[in-house]
């Protein structure tokens, strides 16, 4: 479960104030809003990468506001994916388990499991520079899921993909959610993504997050 309780976030020149919303455990939330409205800033605050001077952020009921990013148990896929360029795909996937002290056998088993789920087994020995946009996105997703986080944060994960790859990725995100049961917050400005994936749609406008009315969601699904 992701809970923001009257959160204020400072980001460069602007502030987001008094943000409150909740995404229940195992649900897929989509946060929509125009470019520059602060969607990424909210994800960064949940990750612990932005200061939260007021309010609380709770993940699965635990107040993580004072915790460092490493201790929040999240998987984060930024918009530019930010794969580790000097590492192979396998090393990218092994990174979080390695840092968290998993044994070699457990890490290898997890990499194999993710490679199958995300259909990236043939890419394991490649470098990020040799991947297509869709492949890089799947690897970034795998890296975020590797240490089995309870929370997954996706920043515009389907942007800059061609139609066919976009289609495949939405199906894959469905499968990932089914396989892992991870609580997801997916940021986008595209209605179609919300229509395909969301259990719950939130809209960020004028510095406030409001849940999309059920009627709006129905309209999106139509």
């Amino acid at each position: 479960m992701i809970t923001l309780d009257r959160v204020t976030i400072r980001a460069g020149g602007f502030r987001l104030q008094d943000l409150s919303f909740e995404i229940p455990a195992g649900r897929y939330g989509v946060l929509m809003g125009r470019t520059g409205s602060g969607k990424t800033t909210i994800l960064e605050a949940i990750c612990g990468l932005r200061a939260v001077p007021q309010g609380r952020i709770l993940l699965d009921g635990r107040d993580v506001t004072p915790l460092r990013p490493a201790d929040r148990g999240i998987g984060y896929v930024p918009q530019d994916r930010a794969l580790f360029q000097t590492m192979t795909v396998r090393q990218n996937l092994s990174f979080a388990p390695g840092v968290r002290g998993w044994g070699a056998a457990d890490t290898a088993a997890r990499v194999a499991e993710l490679a199958e789920l995300l259909r990236i087994a043939p890419l394991l020995d490649r470098r990020p520079a040799d991947l297509s946009g869709g492949e890089a996105q799947r690897v970034a997703l795998g890296r975020a899921l590797a240490a089995k986080p309870k929370i997954l944060l996706l920043d515009e994960p389907l942007s800059a993909l061609d139609d066919e790859t976009w289609e495949g990725m939405t199906v894959l995100l469905h499968q990932v959610r089914k396989a892992t049961g991870v609580t997801t917050l997916h940021v986008t400005h595209r209605r179609e993504e919300a229509r395909r994936l969301a259990d719950q749609v939130l809209v960020l406008a004028d510095g406030a997050v409001r849940p999309s009315a059920p009627a709006d969601l129905e309209e999106l699904r139509r």
Binding site: E44, C47, G48, L49, R68, P69, A70, R72, I74, G75, Y76, P78, D80, A82, L83, F84, Q85, T86, M87, T88, F95, A96, V99, R100, D125, R126, R127, A129, D130, R143, A144, A146, A147
Partner: protein
């Protein structure tokens, strides 16, 4: 390419090419002035051999120490906002813009102060000894290394480092596991610049270390000493040697900076 392109690019090539030509002509003039026999004769001299060894060792030590300060300073200046940052930026320009002799003189004066004298008395001799050569080279070379790394860290997105933090890294782990490997080429480039600056450093070494043969003589001092006693052929031979050493070391470093040279097994 149309006529307009040709004229524009041609003008750029003429302007830039003049400089390249000047460097090539200087190198060619050195080359024709001396002969392999003279080069060998110069190399056979014990003083010059000593200077070669000291130059290689001191430039390498200076470059290593330069990297040790340039990596943290470059990173802090590129990624962090803190009070006094502008002042520190200005201070770092001093070794670059100051006349080299003044750098040497300032070091000499610094080592006349009570704390430095205490250090020399109880630790080891610096002034007019080998450590002074390394310190003189380092005090200028490090500033160049800092600028190279500051530019490199500024251009790198902080995203991968941030992702590493969310994946379980401490700040230090993210730096050593993700940032530093991604900045590898810049670190090698900074090392190369620092090494090359150290190789050519003369003014600070002359003032701070003296030009004592078989003690603090490096190749740049050798050129000066040979010139001062009128042995132009030996001075040119040593100059050529310095050019060859610089080209060789920079070539090796450039090769090392390519990632496939570090890990050839991984397909790029």
């Amino acid at each position: 390419m149309n006529r307009d392109d040709r004229r524009f690019l041609g003008a750029l090539a003429v302007l830039g090419g003049g400089y390249v030509l000047l460097i090539a002509a200087m190198f060619a003039a050195d080359l024709f002035f001396t002969s392999p026999a003279q080069l060998w004769r110069a190399l056979a001299t014990p003083e010059i051999r000593f200077a070669i060894v000291l130059t290689l060792l001191s430039a390498s030590a200076s470059a290593v120490v330069s990297i040790l300060v340039a990596v943290p300073l470059g990173y802090l200046l590129a990624r962090c906002e803190f009070p006094g940052k502008r002042l520190i930026n200005a201070v770092l320009d001093i070794p670059v813009v100051l006349p080299p002799l003044v750098v040497g003189l300032s070091l000499l004066i610094l080592f006349q102060t009570a704390p430095a004298r205490f250090f020399e008395k109880h630790a080891f001799q610096v002034t007019y000894a080998v450590p002074s050569v390394i310190l003189a080279q380092f005090s200028v070379a490090a500033a160049f290394g800092v600028r190279v790394l500051q530019a490199a860290f500024s251009q790198m997105t902080p995203r991968s480092e941030q992702v590493a933090l969310t994946l379980g890294c401490s700040r230090a782990q993210a730096f050593f596991l993700v940032v530093l490997p991604e900045a590898r080429r810049a670190v090698v480039a900074a090392f190369a610049i620092a090494w090359a600056r150290s190789l050519g450093e003369f003014g600070p070494v002359l003032v701070f270390s003296g030009a004592t043969r078989m003690k603090t003589e490096v190749l740049s001092t050798t050129v000066f000493l040979e010139l001062s006693v009128g042995r132009l052929d030996a001075a040119v031979a040593v100059s050529l040697l310095m050019i060859l050493m610089a080209v060789l070391v920079l070539w090796i470093l450039q090769h090392l900076g390519r990632s496939d040279a570090i890990d050839p097994t991984v397909r790029r």
